[in-house]
Symmetry: C2
Subunit: 361 residues, 2 copies
């Protein structure tokens, strides 16, 4: 594909080209079955293999321990904002939330109708430019869990230290999912939308400590119950077949690349190239973010003026460097550099930043 762009979109976003090409080849007639995979019963043998393979790769690639299960649930991370309190809080039970930015705020807003929710750390005072240190998060007695957002896509910050609290953590990892190892013993549930690091939009991937579901709320419609999805291997109802199929292929691509260790290292390298470009620009490019909390997935930066930012974005697009505009709520520039974005795209952007600075300062 000669005209393929460097795609820095914040999600949905770049997927591995070999995965797209393979999916294209087998799209109309899946493995000689005489039909497309998306025309097949979700109970068919050919689909069942796809489903089981995606599940087992998700557990394997992310290094998930045996006492956890994995679920594919439609509705993205946003439906998880509802399902977490609906399942884990009964009556007026309480949970703490870290408010680290746009997504933390969203999780809190959606939990509030379904439990006694309090903010255990608030990034408001620092204008959401940093994450809490591990000892800054204060939970209240009787809390069932502490909810954190591991990476704020819009703010461009990542949680480097996990909060040192006595209760289980529940994490929304949508925007740095499977790009870093995590200490599983601290978590009861980890979730994220597929559409950044793992595949097309259309579902969340949810890992849960099986024993944590023993006492969850059952007085819910079945689609909203984790225990139902887990027990039925995410086949309680018709699953999002195509999304699962694509996620399976992306996971296989990650595994073939060397797995999480290599992915995590490459993420740090890619981010390092761009933060170096910012730090070595003598202030031409600036990062509003606490250096200790810089995201490895979403690199936000500013230029000396909005006018220059607009010129930068336009010229970048002319060079096939696309989707670099910051989120409309904060402005500026943002390069999202998810797992499937090649290091060459980051190098090309870095070179362009240097050239643009030379020509416009």
């Amino acid at each position: 594909m000669s005209n393929r762009v460097h795609n820095f979109c914040a999600g949905p976003c770049t997927l591995p080209l070999p995965v797209l090409q393979e999916a294209q080849r087998e799209f109309v007639d899946y493995h000689g079955e005489g039909m497309s995979l998306i025309e097949m019963s979700h109970r068919a043998k050919a689909y069942d293999e796809v489903h089981k393979q995606a599940m087992s790769l998700a557990l394997e690639v992310f290094g998930v321990p045996d006492d956890f299960g994995v679920m594919f649930i439609q509705g993205g991370a946003t439906l998880q904002f509802a399902m977490v309190p609906l399942n884990f809080l009964s009556g007026d039970q309480r949970a703490g939330y870290v408010n680290s930015g746009s997504w933390g705020k969203g999780a809190i807003a959606d939990a509030q109708p379904h439990g006694d929710i309090y903010v255990a750390w608030d990034g408001k005072d620092s204008n959401y430019t940093r994450m809490p240190k591990s000892d800054e998060v204060k939970t209240q007695p009787g809390s069932q869990y502490l909810h954190v957002t591991s990476n704020e896509t819009i703010g461009g910050i990542r949680m480097v230290e996990w909060p040192a609290v006595e209760i289980p953590l529940i994490a929304d990892m949508s925007s740095d999912y499977m790009s870093r190892k995590i200490p599983w013993d601290r978590f009861d549930l980890v979730y994220g939308g597929a559409q950044k690091n793992l595949g097309p939009a259309g579902m969340a991937i949810v890992f849960v400590r099986k024993s944590a579901l023993e006492n969850t709320n059952r007085n819910l419609a079945r689609y909203l119950r984790y225990d139902v999805h887990l027990e039925k291997d995410s086949l309680f109802n018709t699953p999002p077949v195509f999304t699962i199929y694509m996620v399976g292929k992306v996971l296989q691509w990650m595994k073939d690349k060397g797995g999480l260790f290599v992915i995590e290292k490459e993420a740090a390298e890619k981010a390092g190239i761009l933060y170096d470009s910012i730090d070595n620009s003598e202030g031409y490019y600036s990062s509003p973010v606490d250096p200790a909390c810089r995201s490895h997935m979403n690199v936000v930066f500013r230029l000396p003026s909005e006018e220059l930012e607009n010129k930068f974005l336009q010229q970048a697009e002319d060079e096939n460097l696309v989707n670099l505009k910051g989120h409309r709520s904060v402005g500026g520039c943002r390069a999202s550099i998810y797992n499937a974005l090649p290091v060459e795209s980051v190098q090309t952007l870095s070179a362009f930043m240097q050239e643009f600075k030379n020509a416009n300062s």
Copy 2:
């Protein structure tokens, strides 16, 4: 595609071959954008056109009046089982449900945790072989709505007459969605999964009378609120981009074919061919279903013995007539003949039924 099978799957199921081929062609590089549609921001111009087009076609093809809106919501009809009572019943408000078979039962089970639910007609006495007549459904005072299932996929029955009640109807139309005209003035909400008549699995399409949302329950996480999805044109969170894109293409295919009038006529013709094959078989093939309620989508039939049924299914498969096994809960045979199944597939099955009978009676 020379080896394409006749696919009688109950869902996911056959999609129009030209739609699959077009999607395949534009899969890796969408319209020269240098990326796949599934790698694109859901706020991108190219995707926005796809999204708006699918919405407007859904309203147009189904003949939906102006005072209704359409929503694309992940989770299939199963999540709608939850969202209907969560939105339309506050506190201990009441709603009636028609129990017409497996899917009616599912809707009831999922509504019960979220409201005061009663069965307004029960098909149990007739072993779910028929739907209620319009005057058989009895609602109770104070009911907010009556929920019906327009077609039971497993039982093979369709609601021919809509219940004559004073309250608004809410219908799960998953398995005969957009295959028949409906009297919109009787409905407040109509929903169904995409994966039978309309596209790949991954979402429900929900039509709602806008004024019916004025007093719905707002004390819910946002993903569970119809008013949020409607107000945000189903872009409140990242939508299931690929499913919406495919549904748009299938709707365009339906429109090009002549629209709902032609689709409805063809559905009756296809069903007629198979019911004639059953009725003219001198009892070799039999239908367990009340003739007045025979489904136009799922034709269930039995042979003289289970042994012959197994032989029939095996030989059919050898002739590329696949997925004719009845649902595991009822046994027998079932031909699902959704919108995209060509009439030639039905004629081929009919001829095979005749041949099989001649050779095995």
